[in-house]
Every structure is written in structure tokens, then in C-alpha cells.
Amino acid sequence: MTKKKGFLDVISENRFIHILLSILLGFLVGAVFLVIMNLSVSAAYGRLINSVTSLKGFSYVVVYAVPYIVAGLSVAFSFKTGVFNIGAEGQFVVGSMAAVVTSIFGASLPKPLLIPLCFLAAMAAGAIWGIIVGVLKTKWGINEVLSMIMFNWIAFYLSNFIAGIPAIKNEGTAEATKNIADNASLLFSKDFIKSAGLAPTANWGFIAAIVATVLIWFIIEKTTLGYELKAVGSNKFAAEYGGISVNRSILTALAISGALAGLAGALQVMGMGKRISIFTSQEGFGFAGIVVALIGCSNPFGVLVAGLFYGALMYGGSKLNLEGVPTQLINVIVGTVVFFIAISVIFENLKRLKGRAAVKKAVAEKEGKK
């Protein structure tokens, strides 16, 4: 059948367009709220766009995006293998703490040694956090969502506890850890930042994010491991029947996913964060990772773009105060986007607008497929 596709056909079949439509609707709902609050839509969205399109603004966006991208990769990877890694939050937290502790004790090491060491420590910590949950699931059958929620909080309080230990704690009055060692910092040199006019926190993290993206894409699409994990994700009984060990796959998936979330934590603290505060509530990088993975359709390159989009919203959103707009507007927009992504089935139904004939045909096609 070589019939030319109509406009509505294209819209209703292309997943990428669904995401774009969802984003559009998100901003539309945001605009409705702005109108209700009697605020200027053009001023708010103008500020949002202006703040992220300058060179300096965009460098901020990239800095913001790095942890979101890598945390998003972590969740996307887990989605591919049929596990919902709601525990990325905790893995992120232990990862960033591992990086800080490593940098404090290894402060005298040279940069080329210390940075990979911090990365490794963070990834190991995140992986261990993921594996614990995996073992609880595979050995004792404990629901992974439940234990991940528990381990998110255990990580949270563990991090607060470690941040208060005298050897780790800041010498000043700040309720936080010491700053990470200079040799573990990913920041560009001060002179370069100044001459290029970038954000003061501009750093090398985005290189790591891109490498991680490509690597994860490679693992998922081009390796036996990726094939096995995907097989378990789509039908674990069939996978088991095909000779794949489901338990081992779950453990591997959680380890890799955890390592990614840990790496995200390290990139955050070695780039923009510098130190870890004693928090009163979870920071939410892991939960943001869930959103980024969803917007990016769990595709590594999709996640890369979605992470930049999310970073732009977060950085641009922080500037909304200047227009008297509550920064929470961003959460409403993102929430709406995710909501429409969830119900993107309505876009698939758009072609029904073309009339009964098309509907009948679609139904007939569906029947035919069955």
C-alpha cells in the first residue's frame, strides 16, 4: 500500500511528534495558569527563553543538564530491562557522597588519577545500592519498589550522617561536607571561563554525559548483554525459556543502572555542587531522572535531549522570580508534559477526526493484525 500519508496520519503515528505535542500542551497549560494568576504570559515565557539562549545561559543549561542526563540514562536503562528504578535517588546520593569522601581522602593525588578514582567510587557505591535491592528481590522475593523506597531514605540519612563526621564536615559553620578537593574538580579553568564568558560552574561533566549516553546505547543495542536484558524486560518467561538467567539479568541491570545514578551524583558534586549539604528533604535528582527518561522515551539519545530540555526548564525557571512568576510554574509545566506523554494514546486517536471511514479501516486493520 503506497497511499500518501495525510497530516493527521503522521501526527498520530510518530512518537516523536507526540512528545512535541505534549511539550506544547505543557506550555499551554502553564500559560492558562499564568493568565489565571493575572501575569503576563509573554513576559514569563520571554524570560524563560532569553535566559537559556545566550551563550552564558546555555552553558548554565548544560551544567544543570549533566546530572539529569545521567540519572535519566540510569532510569531509562532500568526501564528497558523491565525494572522501574525508583531507587535512582538513593543511588545518586550514595554516589555523590562516595565521590566527596574519595576526594577528601585522596586530595594529594594528581588530577588524572583522582578524577577516575572518584568516578569509580561513585559508580561502585551506586551499583552496590542497586545490587542490594536486586539481591533482596531475587533471593527473598522482596518487592523492588518497596525496598528502593526504603534504600532512598537510608541513603539520605546515611549521607546526612557522613556529612556530619568531623573528618568530612566543613570547617566553617556550614552544615555541609568539605568542598571536594581541587584535583577532583571538573570545572574549566577560571581564565577560560572568563575569556569565553561561560557560567562560573561550567565544567567537563557534559563530556562524561555524552560518553555515557553512547556507551549505554551501545550496550542496549549492540551487545549480547543488552539483548538478554531487553529480552527479560519484554517477557521474562520467554527469556527464561530461551536460556537466559532472569535473576542474573535483574542483578546486572540494577548494578549498571545504579552505577549510572552514582556517576550522576559524582558529576553533580564534582562539577556544579562542590559539596554536599545536610538536607532536610530529598533533592530529587533521581526522581528528575524518571521524568527525563520518560520524556526521552527511554532512548539514550532521547534522554540526552530530554536532559538538556529539563536542565533548560530548571535553569530558566529559576529566573522566573524576576518576573514575579512562582518558579513552581515549571513543575506544573513538566507535570503536564509527563501527563500528556502518559495519555499520548489520545494523539493516536487523532486520525479518527478524518471520519468514520478511517475509523472503520483502522478497526479492520487491527482485527486483521490479530
Binding site: 531514605w153 537510608i154 510554574l329 509527563v338
Partner: protein, 314 residues
């Protein structure tokens, strides 16, 4: 001895008060999950209820209208979740994630508009959730003070225990409950017997939102007197954890919530006496839960059709 009895009284008081919001959320979660719809949006629904409850109580002066409106706000987000997941067959995890962003986002924005701050104005004593048996016990004796600590507590706490019994009765002793459970196990079979699965699930998710909203309102109207963005931090997720812990039964969820409440109570008492690190104490409930799961509870059987959208056959 006197000290011990006093401390015990305070721990029990804190256990009950901290368990209350969790328990409302957990009962809500039970309704949704048992009918076959995963609802990780409990957290967002609780936040909506927490804000609405305290704001309405502030403006009307009636804690009861506030409490009810808190529930209705939760039900509104429940309806959104139901529309997405039940009517349109959306991915339940994604929709829940959206609710968790939308709930806090919208209410904090409204707070900014109404009060020019993210916090609401604290409730006065008459606007707050009233206490039952306040002043009934003679606090001059050790026993009296113990009784006062434990039983002179918020009405919402008494209500939630009544609610547990009612929900248990609905689930296991009524036709509605039998149908509800069947929808979560085998919706196709239900449909062939003339049960409207879509309507059942839609109703259950709305009820789930209503109860979660009530739970949120307890936090801001009983535990504290105002809504702040950090009022609801993870209680919704703990409620879900309690339900999985309790093997998707209301009576099991009760145990789970009391465990978390007890650990919070312990924290309140131990936190006063210095020497033990607060952060380590705060970790106890979560570590204990994992240990209890490994040692005693083990595998939790999820309702068979849980998480799978039901699409009616043509």
C-alpha cells in the same frame, strides 16, 4: 519507673499521630492497587490534600470543612489519575509520576498567589483538628498522664482506625469488595459476569485520592498547623511501602504504618536525649522494614492484574 511510663506514653502518642497520615494514604493505596491500578501518585494527592485542608480551614474557620475539602482535593487528582490510567489505558507509573509533579506544583503556586509565600498562615487552635478526651484524664498521677498522652489525641487519629475497620469490612464482607478484588485479579472474567471493570477501577482510584487527601490534611491540620512545601516529604511513598509490606491488605497496611509510626515516635523520644546521632536514629524505620521483610514477611503477592491497563474488548 515514672520516667519510663512517661516516655512510653509519649512514644505511643507519637506512634499514633505519625501513623495516622500514613494510614489514610495506605488505605487509599489499597483501594487503587487491589482494584488493579498502580498509584504512585499518592504523594502528590497527599500534598494537594495537605494544602487544601489547611487553607479551607483557615478561610472557613471550620476544621471539618477543611478536612473534607482536603479529601476532595486528593480525589480531584485521583480523578485525573483515573482518567489517564483507567479511561485511556495510560501507563500507570508515568501518570503517577505526573501527578506527583502536578500536585505540589499547583498547590504551591496557589499558595504563592494567596499568601505571597510558599507557606500558609498557621491555623488557630479553633481551626486546628480538635482533640478527643482532652482534659478527661487527671494528669497529676503517673497513670493519668500516661492515659492523657495516649488517648487525648486528634479526632482524625480515631477516625482512621474506624476507617481501617470499615475498609476491611468493605473488602472482605461486601459484594462491592469482592468485585473490587476480582477486578485486580482477572478483569476479563469480571466483565463476562457483567461487572463494569472500568467504572469499578475509576471509582477505586478516586476513593484512593480522597483518602490520600485526608491523610495529607492530617499532616497540616493535626501534626502541624500550616502547609509548607516540606509538609509532605515521602509520606506518600512510605504509605505505598506499608501497603506492599502488608501484602495489599488493609489490616497488613495498618501494621506497616504502626511500625513506621513507632519508629518515628522512638525518634522523637531518643532525639531529646543527646548522645545518639539523629540521622542514624532517623534511619531506623527503613532499616527495620527491610529486616522485617527479610525475616518475617517475605514475598508479597501483587494482585495479578495490577499495573495492566484494562482495555475492553470490542
Amino acid at each position: 519507673m515514672t520516667n519510663f511510663v512517661n516516655s512510653l506514653g509519649i512514644i505511643l502518642f507519637a506512634t499514633l499521630v505519625y501513623a495516622t497520615p500514613l494510614l489514610y494514604g495506605a488505605l487509599g493505596s489499597c483501594f487503587s492497587e487491589v482494584s488493579g491500578v498502580v498509584n504512585i501518585g499518592i504523594e502528590g494527592m497527599m500534598t494537594a490534600g495537605a494544602f487544601t485542608g489547611t487553607v479551607i480551614a483557615y478561610f472557613t474557620g471550620s476544621p471539618w470543612i477543611g478536612f473534607l475539602c482536603g479529601g476532595l482535593a486528593g480525589a480531584f487528582f485521583g480523578m485525573l489519575h483515573a482518567f489517564a490510567t483507567v479511561s485511556l489505558g495510560a501507563d500507570q507509573t508515568i501518570a503517577g509520576t505526573a501527578i506527583n509533579m502536578l500536585g505540589p506544583g499547583i498547590v504551591i503556586m496557589i499558595a504563592k498567589v494567596l499568601f505571597n509565600s510558599t507557606d500558609t498562615i498557621p491555623l488557630s487552635a479553633s481551626q486546628k483538628m480538635p482533640k478527643l478526651f482532652a482534659g478527661t484524664f487527671d494528669t497529676s498521677t503517673v497513670f493519668g498522664r500516661f492515659m492523657d498522652n495516649v488517648f487525648a489525641t486528634y479526632v482524625s487519629t480515631y477516625l482512621v482506625f474506624v476507617a481501617v475497620i470499615i475498609v476491611w469490612f468493605i473488602f472482605y464482607k461486601t459484594r462491592f469488595g469482592l468485585r473490587l478484588r476480582a477486578c485486580g485479579e482477572h478483569p476479563q472474567a469480571c466483565e463476562t459476569l457483567g461487572i463494569n471493570v472500568i467504572a469499578m477501577r475509576f471509582a477505586c482510584v478516586c476513593i484512593s485520592g480522597f483518602l490520600s487527601g485526608l491523610g495529607g490534611a492530617c499532616v497540616t491540620m493535626a501534626l502541624s498547623t500550616q502547609f509548607r512545601p516540606i509538609s509532605i516529604v515521602g509520606q506518600g511513598f512510605i504509605a505505598i511501602a506499608a501497603v506492599i509490606f502488608g501484602k495489599f491488605r488493609p489490616q497488613g497496611a495498618l501494621l506497616g504504618c504502626l511500625l513506621f509510626g513507632f519508629c518515628s515516635g522512638l525518634k522523637v523520644v531518643l532525639g531529646g536525649s543527646s548522645g545518639v546521632n539523629m540521622h542514624l536514629i532517623s534511619m531506623i524505620p527503613y532499616v527495620v522494614t527491610v529486616i522485617v521483610l527479610v525475616l518475617f514477611v517475605g514475598k508479597s503477592r501483587v494482585p495479578a492484574a495490577n499495573g495492566k491497563p484494562y482495555i475492553k474488548a470490542k
